[in-house]
Amino acid sequence: MRPLTEEETKTMFEKLSKYIGENIKLLVDRPDGTYCFRLQNDRVYYMSEKILKLATNISRDKLVSVGTCFGKFTKTNKFRLHITALDFLAPYAKFKVWVKPGAEQSFLYGNHVLKSGLGRITENTQQYQGVVVYSMADVPLGFGVAAKNTQECRRVDPMSIVVFHQADVGEFIRNEDTLT
């Protein structure tokens, strides 16, 4: 386990800022204690200082997970968010998409959101903007990337993709063995 380097922090923040914008500040600078990002086994974990100190008692090869996994660095040093980060993305999300109850299941099975399943969308959403997907009852289901901007969304035919799927809570079951 080690702190992220400057470069790694930058790549991670750039990815995070696609979803929560400048709200990252709220993750870094928290009034309820010291929280930090740590890299372990190519994965980035977000944890409190207290947990971090406890975790130092466990050897690196035995440590499976600590705190919340935000995502991992790929071999090409890109950052990929994991569904486990949803707990921190959802409350700070800048752009949201609400999915109709009928399309919820399809999304949770890993499919893109189609126009027909789109319930609501935040105004001013740009194309390729990172969005958090909610059910109509405001339960966060996952996140993805807007395939079209808000204006276009109104015009396209119902079978076209509106939000590209990236991660959904169904992964907790589907990828149970690899998620940490």
Binding site: M1, R2, P3, T5, E6, T9, K10, F13, E14, S17, E22, I24, K25, V28, D29, T34, C36, R38, E49, L52, K53, T56, N124, Q126, N149, Q151
Partner: protein, 353 residues
């Protein structure tokens, strides 16, 4: 009396003399075991404890040692002797008793890469004869080395292959190839040594090869660049050149549990920089927003108008409806309607920027 005493004295003296010069023949119940090479004799005869106790112990041991030494010397005398400068010398045979060695036995040599491979593949060494018949010289010659049989390097003429460049010196080419093979073998030998001692092989980066890969070339370039008097400090870099990988720079990370506030400040600083790099105004977004506002304004205006119309006259309402009938037309109308007022607005905004 005197004669008697003289005789007795003589006898006594003789006896003493005999005592001093003990005979060279020693009688033993069991013969000794000799290892003349080591000058070793082993006496297997029993020592009677009674005799040992009755006699003086030192005397007994001394007598025993003398007898056995005598036997050993007798044995040596049986060997062929010769005289070397007044000294009689016997050549000892090879020692028969195995003695433990002083130093531990040497470790087996670590196998070379080829030996490992041969073992894996089950390749066994074949003994070849040292001498080979040479057809041209009509005699037996060594297989290798100086004056070897069927020497390929002694030809006075080499045919130029059809595919080869006719101006190429085939002799020089052959010499070069040979030199390269020798160098390669030497390099492999060093590699084997390095591998056996678990040391890094020196100069792996730049071995000559027929076909160098991109990676090897880039490494060669980076080595060549730093091979100046100033270790490449004043070397210019090409416009699109990438920094060489694996420069041997050690990664250094912050401590796991270090200064948390410092870490936090660094991250906040980074966020600030990232924020500042973002364009303050997204043009498409602004235009979209502007358009939407206009749409809304128009809609409200229309609504108001409509409300007014509803209240006042049915005549005007009809006109409005006529506009809205076709969707495409309606849109066009919208755009046109917006342009008169909104176009100016937009321009004004751009100017402000």
């Amino acid at each position: 009396m005197a004669a008697c005493s003289v005789e007795a004295l003589l006898a006594k003296a003789e006896q003493e003399e005999a005592e001093k010069l003990k005979s060279i023949t020693v009688l033993k119940e069991l013969d000794l075991d000799f290892d003349i090479g080591n000058l070793l004799a082993c006496d297997k005869n029993r020592v009677e404890p009674r005799v040992f106790r009755e006699q003086k112990k030192d005397d007994f041991l001394r007598a025993l040692a003398r007898d056995n030494t005598q036997l050993l010397i007798n044995e040596i005398w049986k060997l062929p002797t010769e005289r070397v400068q007044e000294a009689i010398v016997a050549k000892l045979p090879d020692p028969a008793t195995p003695l433990p060695r002083e130093k531990p036995p040497p470790k087996p040599k670590p196998p070379t890469k080829w030996e490992e491979f041969a073992k894996l593949k089950g390749i066994q060494k074949k003994k070849k004869t040292n001498l080979v018949w040479d057809e041209t010289a009509k005699e037996w010659r060594r297989r290798w080395g100086y004056k070897r049989a069927n020497d390929g390097t002694k030809e006075w003429l080499i045919e130029v292959p059809e595919t080869a460049d006719p101006n190429e010196d085939q002799f020089a080419k052959r010499n070069k190839a040979k030199k390269e093979r020798v160098a390669k073998n030497e390099y492999n030998r060093l590699k084997n040594i390095a591998r056996a001692q678990k040391v890094k092989v020196p100069g792996v980066g730049l071995t000559p090869k027929a076909q160098q890969s991109k990676d090897e070339l880039s490494r060669a370039v980076s080595v060549a660049r730093t091979s100046t008097a100033s270790v490449g400090r004043f070397q210019d870099s090409l416009p699109k050149e990438k920094a060489p990988k694996n420069q041997g720079k050690k990664r250094k990370f912050d401590p796991l549990i270090g200064d948390f506030s410092n870490e936090k400040n660094k991250q906040l600083e980074l966020l600030k920089v990232m924020d500042s790099k973002k364009p303050k105004l997204d043009v498409t977004k602004a235009v979209n927003k502007q358009m939407r506002e206009e749409d809304r304004e128009e809609a409200t205006a229309k609504f108001k108008k409509g409300a007014g119309k509803k209240g006042r006259k049915g005549n005007m309402q009809g006109k409005g409806k006529g506009n809205m009938q076709g969707k495409g037309k309606g849109k066009g109308g919208k755009g046109k309607g917006g342009k008169a007022g909104g176009g100016n607005k937009r321009r004004g905004k751009v100017g402000k920027r």
